[in-house]
């Protein structure tokens, strides 16, 4: 929970968190009974049948996923959403492959509380594993039913029939389309635990780099984003946010704003201010006037940025032992190294500030939103407006990349509130750049301490890691998590912040090293209340944790007089991890790097398996440090990725390249600016990120394909290793270790 406490300074006791069956279930006293079981604090709906594959566990009915009309038209549904990662195409490929229908012939529907299964949030790199696996099996089972149906109609054995492009073909040449085949067969039935899957060797769609189905429209001005929606009689709204957390509205010149050209309504509700106009520019001008005339009482001062980590470490913490491994044997420590690592608050920085459209018509509210979780958001909005769940529908519509929780849920709440004030008119709300920057939940600032020891044989014999972090999950399910709901005259209070359970974790994601160390202890000091609003950002704690682990591995390797790559292999048994490391080293030319060494250049290597469960990424980096300015040029990167059966190889490469560059930007440049008066990073000038002049000269990605193997989440897997490799490369280039992110800048000058 952030510093939004009630006036008495206590937590609202109606929002209690209780433990139930190993999952944390939030009780909402205001929601109807069925809704309470809709999802847990991680946004995941309750398990209906744990024997089923992927999200079939929670959504077992086949026709929740696939429907085939009488005319053969195929519609496929997923509860996940396209965030710009390409999953719409990848999931489509999976369904198309197992169904034997051409991808272009499928109508593919994503996250919509009115039409699709509830798969919680699109987050945590779960999409292909959860939704993809569900579609893999559901599609295979539907295809089997289709074949059965045709076989029954033709009175032939199903094994003699083949399918191709939505058609069943008999050996004698007779054919019928799937709609005909399903006559008399109801897809409204539960899936089975076992499916007859097409062999990976026979794949023609899965494993091919099908061009993304959404890209052409984005390149030719097709309507692709929620920002592009234009509904009949739509009006434009802008909000006025307080100048800083906790500021209270003293006065605003509502009349003057209301008299401006085109203004239809000015909303005031406690600390919540918004203005609605016919035309978007009119709304902006009115927002400017309303903002200029508003007077606010300051809220509590925010902490200073300079000593934020000391401030955070002094806060009350919940200590979670992530790992405590003691094994007999192993040598005594001959060298011990102890370091501290830190990262600053990092901004999601979606290139397009968040936007939403909502319409309240005839008692029904529809919200078009780029939220990561349409079902949890629906519950939160229903609670905020005291509406029954089934009167609210959230339809995912794309926006710019979010990389976790950005302002999407908040602006959806804005749209809902304003739509309620303008019944019958669709309301479009667009956050401004400064509003997105000042109110989004940041990636938490974190600090970590690591102490590791080597034995006489050059192996790590002891490992002790502690980290301090605020919450990495403040997504709604609860109205109080929505900023607009917190600003109302009768504000909603967010439910208490909770740590995210292992094996996936939050701040402690990838905190437990994958390496085989005899003794290892890892502690997560979870800080439930921190001064800045924080939530999930791509890879969560893995970014700093792998930066620390991989930096320490290099320092230990040096102490053991070992090559950094060989030293890692010394401690890894997993053959897939070893393959990834060797592939990256080979692609980079790691063994021959000394022959290429030039002044102020450095080489660095790093490895990580995301969450110790998902994709493997190893990478090597060459950097050049411009000592006169502290600038860092990334000369080249070579990465190797293993994510199991790759669905769309080019899509995977795109995500890994993107993750490499984005992580480089975070690691080298990014820190949120703030101070006692509030958040100062209001735009790109006050929050610089990677520009073309910083982009590497070359990035190579090697994919290690594992046909038929389970899908492993890959979109976040490069963030941690890239940070680790950069840290190691800078140490190699400068002869000095840098452990406080961001790394580039005047401190590198010499």
């Amino acid at each position: 929970m952030t510093a939004h406490v009630t006036e008495t300074g206590t937590i609202d006791l109606r929002r209690r968190a209780t433990l139930g069956a190993g999952a944390l279930v939030l009780g909402f006293s205001m929601l109807p009974r069925p809704a309470r079981a809709e999802f847990n604090a991680m946004g995941v709906p309750p398990v209906a049948d744990k024997a089923l594959a992927g999200s079939l566990k929670t959504n077992p009915m086949l026709d929740a996923w696939i429907r085939i009309a009488a005319d053969g038209k195929v519609t496929v549904f997923t509860g996940k959403v396209e965030l710009g990662t390409g999953v719409r195409t990848a999931l489509l490929q999976i369904a198309a492959e197992q169904l034997d229908v051409a991808p272009a012939a499928i109508d593919f529907i994503t996250g919509d509380t009115g039409r699709t299964p509830n798969e919680g949030y699109t987050a945590g790199s779960h999409t292909i594993a959860d939704s993809g696996t569900a579609l893999l099996h559901a599609a295979a089972q539907v295809r089997a039913l289709v074949v059965q149906g045709a076989a029954a109609q033709w009175k032939v054995a199903p094994e003699n029939l083949s399918t191709r492009a939505g058609t069943i073909i008999a050996p004698d040449g007779r054919n019928m389309h799937y709609g005909q085949a399903l006559r008399g067969i109801d897809l409204h039935r539960a899936a089975q635990a076992k499916s007859v899957l097409k062999e990976a060797g026979a794949y023609t769609v899965i494993g091919s780099s099908l061009p993304r189905v959404d890209i052409p429209a984005k390149l030719t001005g097709g309507a692709s984003y929620v920002q592009d929606m234009r509904l009949q009689r739509m009006v434009h709204a802008r909000v006025v946010r307080p100048p800083a957390y906790g500021a209270r509205l003293l006065s605003a010149d509502i009349q003057a704003a209301g008299r401006m050209a085109g203004v239809l309504k000015v909303l005031v509700d406690g600390n919540y201010l918004a203005v609605v106009a016919d035309d978007e520019w009119q709304a902006i001008l009115a927002m400017r006037a309303l903002s200029a005339g508003a007077k606010w009482a300051k809220g509590p001062a925010m902490p200073a940025a300079a000593n934020i980590h000391a401030t955070l470490r002094a806060l009350p913490a919940q200590d979670i032992v992530v790992e405590d491994k003691r094994a007999p044997g192993g040598g005594a420590a001959v060298t011990t190294i102890k370091n501290r690592y830190t990262k600053q608050y990092v901004l999601h920085g979606s290139i397009g500030p968040s936007c939403s459209v909502a319409l309240l018509d005839d008692g029904k509210l529809t919200v078009w939103t780029h939220t990561q979780g349409v079902y949890p958001l629906r519950a939160a909005i229903a609670e905020m407006l005291s509406m029954p769940l089934d009167a609210v529908r959230c339809i995912h519509t794309e926006s710019a990349g979010c990389y976790g929780q950005n302002g999407a849920d908040d602006v959806a709440a804005d749209a809902a509130l304003i739509a309620r004030a303008m019944p019958g008119r669709p309301v479009r709300v667009q956050l401004m750049r400064d509003q997105e920057n000042q109110w989004e939940p940041y990636a938490p600032a974190m600090s970590t301490e690591l102490s590791a020891s080597l034995d006489a044989g050059g192996k790590v014999c002891d490992w002790h890691y502690e980290l301090w972090s605020g919450s990495h999950n403040e997504r709604p399910g609860n109205a109080g998590k929505l900023i607009p709901a917190q600003l109302l005259a009768k504000p909603f209070t967010p439910s208490p912040s909770l740590p995210m359970p292992m094996p996936e974790g939050g701040g402690d994601r990838n905190a437990a090293p994958l390496y085989a160390f005899a003794n290892s202890k890892v502690i997560n000091h979870f800080l439930p209340v921190t001064p800045l609003r924080t939530s999930a950002m791509r890879s969560l704690g893995a970014h700093i944790n792998l930066f620390a682990i991989e930096g320490m591995m290099d320092e230990l390797a040096a102490a053991a007089r070992a090559d950094p790559v060989e030293f890692r292999l010394r401690h890894l048994e997993d053959p897939r991890a070893r393959d990834a490391i060797r592939a990256a080293a080979s692609k980079f030319g790691w063994d021959g790097r000394e022959r290429q060494r030039r002044r102020d250049h450095g080489f660095g290597f790093a490895f990580g398996q995301y969450k110790n469960l998902m994709a493997y990424v190893a990478l090597a980096v060459e950097v050049r440090v411009e000592r006169s300015t502290g600038a860092v040029q990334i000369v080249r990167v070579a990465a190797a990725v293993d994510c199991g059966q790759g669905v769309n190889p080019d899509g995977i490469r795109n995500q890994i390249e993107g993750g490499i560059l984005q992580s480089a930007s975070w690691t080298l440049y990014e820190r949120l600016r703030f101070g006692p008066d509030g958040i100062a990073s209001i735009d790109w000038a006050s929050y610089p990120i990677m520009r073309y002049s910083n982009v590497p000269a070359r990035v190579d990605v090697v994919l290690i394909d594992r046909p038929g193997a389970p899908f492993l989440g890959v979109a976040e897997a490069a963030q941690g290793p890239m940070a680790g490799a950069l840290g190691n490369a800078l140490a190699d280039a400068t002869g000095k270790r840098w452990r406080d992110l961001p790394l580039a800048g005047p401190q590198l000058m010499a």
Binding site: R288, A292, D434, R599, A631, I682, P688, M749
Partner: protein, 429 residues
């Protein structure tokens, strides 16, 4: 060049020639080349001090081409006498100063003489660097000798005849070069003396902030205001006559951060100066500010004179101001409007306090609108987009007229559109 200036130039060159002949008996010898010193041979403390001096001296700003490697030279300096390309001062033996001894380096800074004996053009402000102490010159030498060597030869200079004939400079030096450090003024405190040392020495502020006479010498008294690269460098002796009088504190903030909450942002050629100064310890910028504030005219008014009341605009002028207001609302108010985030959360000053808006000439405002303040990755980064492509001359003139009248509340600048056209033309490469 204008006719009167040309006459002066001819007269001046004649005088220089005479002086050069007189001084010709002073032949500048070549100093023996050395092997480039090993970077490890300099101690860390000396390098740190050297970095500080080189930052105050802005060496990297001039000696780095756009997109080029630091200190490798090649930046064209457009002077009234033609274009001079800065030299490579990395420790490359062939194309840089790698084979310069400390004695050669000292002679260059003190006397404007290169290692091989040729005279350096005073676009290189050795008349200021001459005031550095031996210790500081040695530290600067150490720092420059540990830069990454870059092999790069500067293009040939393009100077008007006969200024390519370097011995003429001997005469110029007779007129303008007073070698060696100045002793501290015992009547003044340590901070003032430090400030004077930095401003008059490495900082070479008068090189831009003083007017130049027709043969490129700085006019006396110093800091009366100059013009560099098409930008007005304001008079540093008139700081109390700004819309809000400067204080030492504001000046130190401006030098250090590239903007002042009571005045505005460093733009044009001043922006890189602030970037360099963001790297030196705060006591240096504080000292520079203290010294500069001490230079204000003895009889400075207690309060600044109110802006000359502008008669209300009529007819075409009024229409142009209205048009400027319309354009301002769409193009500028997102940052410069009253409650814009840059103002409210960013603490930036309103435009009526800006030196560019209050100035006697519109040139700086026109330059800022045309060029913006380019993005850099320095600690003191401010940023403004450029409007040269989106706004034409009449539109920029109307915005300037609006800002001058309705925001600055000052008498109008004459012939704005013509000035925009001229400046845009001068900016063409």
């Amino acid at each position: 060049m204008k006719k009167t200036t040309r006459k002066w130039a001819v007269a001046g060159i004649a005088a220089l020639a005479a002086g050069a002949l007189a001084a010709a008996w002073v032949v500048q010898p070549a100093l023996a080349p050395i092997t480039p010193p090993a970077p490890g041979g300099f101690d860390a403390a000396s390098l740190a001090r050297g970095a500080r001096i080189v930052a105050v001296g802005d060496c990297m700003v001039c000696h780095t081409a756009t997109g080029g490697r630091p200190y490798a030279g090649g930046l064209p300096l457009r002077t009234p006498f033609g274009t001079i390309y800065t030299t490579n001062i990395t420790p490359d033996a062939a194309t840089g100063i790698g084979n310069w001894s400390l004695a050669a380096f000292t002679r260059a800074l003190r006397h404007g003489v290169a290692r091989d004996g040729h005279l350096l053009y005073p676009a290189f402000p050795y008349i200021h660097y001459t005031r550095l102490t031996d210790a500081d010159i040695a530290d600067a030498y150490a720092y420059l000798m540990t830069r990454t060597p870059v092999q790069a030869a500067a293009p040939d200079n393009e100077l008007i005849f006969p200024l390519g004939f370097r011995p003429l400079l001997a005469g110029w030096n007779l007129l303008y070069l007073r070698s060696g450090p100045e002793p501290d003024d015992p009547a003044r405190g340590a901070e003032w003396n430090r400030g004077r040392y930095l401003v008059d020495g490495a900082g070479h502020c008068a090189s831009c902030h003083s007017a130049l006479d027709p043969i490129g010498g700085e006019r006396s008294p110093a800091f009366g205001g100059g013009n560099i690269d098409g930008w007005d460098a304001p008079a540093l002796t008139a700081l109390l006559r700004a819309p809000k009088p400067w204080t030492a504190e504001q000046l130190a903030l401006y030098l250090r951060h590239g903007w002042s909450p009571e005045h505005g942002a460093a733009a044009g050629p001043m922006a890189p100066v602030a970037h360099s100064l963001s790297l030196v310890p705060p006591e240096d910028t504080k000292a520079m500010a203290a010294y500069l504030m001490s230079l204000q005219a003895a009889a400075a008014p207690a309060a600044p004179p109110p802006p000359a009341p502008a008669p209300p605009a009529t007819g075409a002028d009024a229409a142009r101001i209205r048009q400027g207001g319309t354009l301002f609302a769409g193009a500028c108010a997102g940052c410069h409007g009253d409650a814009a985030p840059m103002m409210a959360a960013g603490g930036r000053p309103p435009l009526n306090l800006s030196t560019a808006v209050a100035g006697a000439r519109p040139d700086n405002l026109i330059q800022i609108v045309l060029n913006g303040v380019p993005w850099t990755q320095s600690r003191s980064a401010t940023f403004m987009p450029a409007f040269a492509a989106s706004l034409d001359d009449a539109q920029i003139a109307s915005i300037a007229a609006y800002v001058r009248a309705d925001i600055g509340k000052r008498a109008p600048w004459p012939e704005l559109e013509r000035r925009v056209t001229e400046i845009r033309k001068e900016n063409q490469p």
